[in-house]
Symmetry: C2
Subunit: 258 residues, 2 copies
Amino acid sequence: MRILAIANQKGGVGKTTTAINLGTALAAVGKRVLIFDTDPQGNASTGVNIGRDLRAVSSYHVLNGEASLTLAVQRTEIPNLFIIPGEANLAGLEQELIAHVRSQFKLRDAIAAHTEIGGVFDYMLIDCPPSLNILTVNALTAADAVIVPLQCEFFALEGINQLHQTIEAVRANLNRDLTIQGIVLTMYDARTNLSEQVAADVRNFFGDKVYETIIPRNVTLSEAPSHGKPAMIYDHRAAGSLAYMALAKELIERERLV
Amino acid sequence: MRILAIANQKGGVGKTTTAINLGTALAAVGKRVLIFDTDPQGNASTGVNIGRDLRAVSSYHVLNGEASLTLAVQRTEIPNLFIIPGEANLAGLEQELIAHVRSQFKLRDAIAAHTEIGGVFDYMLIDCPPSLNILTVNALTAADAVIVPLQCEFFALEGINQLHQTIEAVRANLNRDLTIQGIVLTMYDARTNLSEQVAADVRNFFGDKVYETIIPRNVTLSEAPSHGKPAMIYDHRAAGSLAYMALAKELIERERLV
Ligand SMILES: Nc1ncnc2c1ncn2[C@@H]1O[C@H](COP(=O)(O)OP(=O)(O)OP(=O)(O)O)[C@@H](O)[C@H]1O
Ligand SMILES: Nc1ncnc2c1ncn2[C@@H]1O[C@H](COP(=O)(O)OP(=O)(O)OP(=O)(O)O)[C@@H](O)[C@H]1O
Ligand SMILES: [Mg+2]
Ligand SMILES: [Mg+2]
């Protein structure tokens, strides 16, 4: 099982939308995918139609040791796509874990304790909240690699340095093997110069770490969650759905080289 | 001086854009405004052209007690608009303050210790990061009222309950007088049904707490920060600039009734 953290402390850049739709696209081509939702809002869980009443056992319980990964896994309506839901208790985890010795390793240890999970799934995608807190650090410590959604907006460029430094710090202290799987440009609006400028800057800075695939700004991606479905299921012909299918193919290609 | 926290733990909903442009609009009609930037990304500081080299004294130093409010205040290029910048060290404050007795009152205490600030400014606008952590709690504890930017998207509705609960908890335990000044609908796209549906839902739920003024999705608002200027200065005729001018007038009207 490859563990990919989907992280960026800038808010609203498309982390959850990427976790849901990339996950669905990978599932559509036969990969068995587990989404681990560490966002206290639980948006990824809502996006695959896991209601609040189905989150009694969540990623919070896995991270505080009350539940095993195996216990927390749930099916979704999408074949090959499973989820461990997120919920509001996650917001208090930073304070709860402050005195724990291996507070950054809670997820990594939970995965090591249940190796059968590794045998069942091809990918675990971890949806991170918009901050570099204990939840994101747990994700980076457990992950093999990071996928960074980067919105084609000016403010989104500002945070890239901090994210880079955090990834380096995790690699140096907590997870020697952590790499950047790739940077995906999101909400690209071909009608504005801004998107083009940001995309060019990002490619200059990160080179071929940036996926060829660009996710366009596409209303289907923002409407689909209100129907409890990934965009791929809600409208598989939409530009957003096609882009995430292309991203999945590009990701699999890169993974082949790992 | 009225202290207004601009808060919503959902990421990318327009908190910083509101702090910058509402601040500028209030300054344009003669109010003296201080932006207190608690975001580790420091986007609000960048948006008013305060470079990284000018952030040696920041909101971080005010919140950990190393600097007084008065020392940290800086002019911007905009008349009547001042700022206490944000910077990366803020990200570590949660851990640093964990053992402090009045960790939630750091900002409130700093304001009480320097009453001359209250005499100089009409408004303090606090730009919060996308989480309900110690920085947002400090803002809510110091504030007279909260302005909630709410993006007209489905996921943005999900977090409203949690924010409401946090505001209630702060009101019950830390700041009895805290009220909701208003909810401002942002990134409204008249071409999609989604915006209309979300706006209708929000008005049903919050009634007249929702401002009449709606901020449209407008490329000037996202391009202006790359020029280090608020949209109001970059292009005062743009739809986004006009909307923030209207919001400022509506805010002042509401404040008159307080
Ligand atoms: N390519 C896109 N085109 C149009 N809308 C999009 C696109 N990607 C995401 N969205 C919408 O933009 C908003 C932000 O996206 P999303 O919630 O996935 O970001 P996030 O990084 O997970 O946010 P947070 O930082 O709050 O966790 C959502 O309402 C989503 O539906
Ligand atoms: N009305 C608008 N129309 C178009 N773009 C907008 C609008 N408001 C904000 N933006 C852009 O959307 C992005 C998110 O806005 P902003 O950074 O202000 O949100 P935020 O809530 O402060 O984000 P964070 O949660 O990361 O602090 C920015 O790139 C901004 O320039
Ligand atoms: Mg998210
Ligand atoms: Mg912001």
